[in-house]
């Protein structure tokens, strides 16, 4: 089995990263703070003002280690790319499908169906874990949403045009997020969820979700790149300059499973608290430095958890799943599979 490799997250401002033999060394103010063998790494993500030596960047590019710069709140800024970048034959196959609406729908509807099924699973788990202790009205609302989403997955797999698909997806998101507050066990009113808001996130739950989605998006993008797909050309998400549409497509299956569940755990177990956020003028809310580290550590831990891959039937870490889905997508585009087996979480 492919090994689960680690991602290094560097959040210390003014840290300097360099290569020493086959290792990466992290220095802060001239002092060595950490060191790791490069061959155990899958990615290096730098949040904020961090420097790196050209020798390290070259070594990462050569070994296929994703090296990216992000803003402190996780907005993607830049990445280092080496001479080996994908395979033109696969990309052509990808573009041909992306240009063909009928064929794009065949992929997109499984992605959306899996996403909605996974949202439904999140609700089922909430019902299973806390259902009995919830007020009856909440239980009813959760059950209704669960039933609606279950029904909707059946509708989705029959959809044949992209506009209806996007419509149903939007509806499902509204239903799912309408009960999102019921997933939150924290008594603290600061963790009221006010509906999805992104630019900027208008409450703490949204700030947390946005940060996790940024991490997930980054992982999906690297996964696609490592199998040679173009992360910018999607099927469900239409082309838009600067947008990594295929990474957004791939993310859909994982949002509920990886990001939403983790956000809920962090809130429900009080690992993040109201004071961990900064409220900006104009209503935007972002995570503090220290809380970001807590979230990154939890994200790493989540990625180390093992699951059984539904299609491949092999045990692997959550961190590898995006990679495997990217691989399966490329195998479908090459004609080795009759459809794309989107990730269904149980």
């Amino acid at each position: 089995m492919r090994k689960h490799l680690n991602t290094i997250y560097v959040t210390t401002e003014d840290a300097w990263l360099r290569k020493d033999g086959a290792n990466i060394v992290v220095e802060v103010e001239g002092k060595e703070r950490g060191r790791a063998p490069l061959h155990l790494l899958e990615g290096i993500m730098c949040f904020g003002r961090i420097g790196a030596s050209p020798a390290l960047l070259a070594a990462c590019a050569e070994a296929g280690i994703a090296f990216s710069y992000l803003s402190p709140i996780g907005r993607f800024l830049a990445r280092v790319e080496g001479p080996r970048s994908g395979n033109v034959l696969l990309r052509r196959a990808q573009y041909r499908v992306a240009d063909d609406n009928t064929r794009s729908v065949l992929i997109a509807r499984y992605i959306v169906a899996a996403k909605v099924a996974n949202q439904r699973t999140v609700i089922r788990r909430v019902l299973r874990d806390y259902g009995a202790s919830s007020p009856e009205a909440s239980q009813k609302a959760l059950q209704a949403a669960e039933a609606w989403l279950t029904d909707t997955t059946r509708r989705i797999v029959k959809v044949t045009d992209m506009d209806s698909l996007r419509g149903i997806e939007g509806e499902a998101a509204r239903v799912y997020f309408s009960v999102f507050n019921l997933f939150i066990r924290s008594e603290d009113p600061a963790f009221q969820f006010g509906g999805r808001s992104r630019r900027p996130p208008l409450d703490r739950v949204n700030a947390l979700l946005s940060f996790l989605y940024a991490l997930l998006g980054h992982d999906c993008r690297s996964a696609l790149e490592s199998v040679g797909l173009d992360p910018q050309v999607g099927f469900l998400h239409a082309d838009r300059p600067g947008r990594t549409s295929l990474a957004l497509d791939l993310m859909e299956e994982f949002r509920p499973v990886l990001a939403d569940r983790l956000a809920l755990n962090l809130i429900n177990r009080a690992q993040v608290r109201a004071a961990d956020f900064t409220c900006h003028e104009g209503g935007g809310i972002t995570l503090h430095d220290d809380a970001r580290k807590t979230v990154l550590t939890a994200w790493q831990e989540r990625k180390k958890q093992e699951i059984r891959h539904p299609f491949l039937g092999e045990t692997m870490t959550f961190g590898l799943v995006a990679h495997m889905q990217a691989l399966l997508l490329s195998r479908y585009l090459r004609g080795e599979l009759d459809a794309y087996p989107a990730f269904i979480w149980k």
Binding site: R2, H39, R84, E336
Partner: protein, 215 residues
């Protein structure tokens, strides 16, 4: 010397010698590496690379009175291959120096002929470049630490030539063959990327997906 008019065209179509070896190990592995540009570094490839780096670092030296060329660029238009030879010793004297390829290998001699073919491919390149017959070379395995002499007989030459042709055809077609699960998969660094068990006779995904969506 000016290149022949068709040389540049030929150069475009050369395939790396290493692809022959990959092809003999498994055609799909060859396609994953050389068409799909996938590679996964596992213990074996890292070790292999370190070994090569050690060999590469040497300058032309003289051992037992034999001059050795290190990391020599080689190619053959007849076979359509190019690459590098780890070490080429120059045997003989004066004006009759005969190149003698020596390749360093991890582990012990293997039952498939990939290593012999790789060496023979080097020999055929050297024949074309030096304009002389190269009838023998050696593989040097680190376990046991020993040289094995390889004769470039007609059978090995034919196998090398046929393999080069198959690799060229496959790379030109740009199509990756389906996996065939075999005992080599255990030692294949690309097993996770290949998924031989699941993709050998792939399931009907549609049926699988619809079943899994329910319940």
């Amino acid at each position: 010397m000016m290149p022949k008019p068709d040389q540049r065209q030929d150069e475009e179509n050369l395939v790396p010698v290493s692809a022959l070896q990959h092809y003999l190990f498994c055609p799909r592995q060859c396609a994953l590496i050389h068409i799909e540009q996938q590679w996964a570094e596992n213990g074996a490839t890292v070790e292999g690379r370190l070994l090569h780096e050690r060999v590469d670092s040497g300058v032309p030296d003289r051992k037992r009175g034999v001059r050795t060329l290190r990391t020599l660029p080689i190619r053959s238009f007849a076979l359509g291959i190019y690459g590098k030879a780890d070490a080429v010793e120059l045997h003989g004297t004066g004006s009759t120096l005969i190149p003698y390829p020596v390749e360093y290998k991890r582990g012990s001699p293997k039952p498939h002929h990939a290593d012999e073919v790789q060496l023979c491919a080097q020999a055929l390149c050297l024949e074309e470049m030096f304009g002389c017959a190269v009838s023998e070379g050696a593989l040097f395995y680190d376990r046991p630490h020993r040289r094995t002499t390889v004769q470039f007989d007609q059978d090995l030459r034919d196998l090398t030539q046929k393999t080069a042709q198959k690799v060229q055809d496959m790379l030109a077609a740009g199509k990756t063959p389906q996996p065939v699960w075999n005992k080599g998969c255990k030692h294949c660094s690309l097993e996770a990327i290949c998924q031989p068990r699941r993709l050998e006779k792939p399931l009907c995904v549609e049926k699988w997906f619809l079943e899994n969506l329910e319940d």
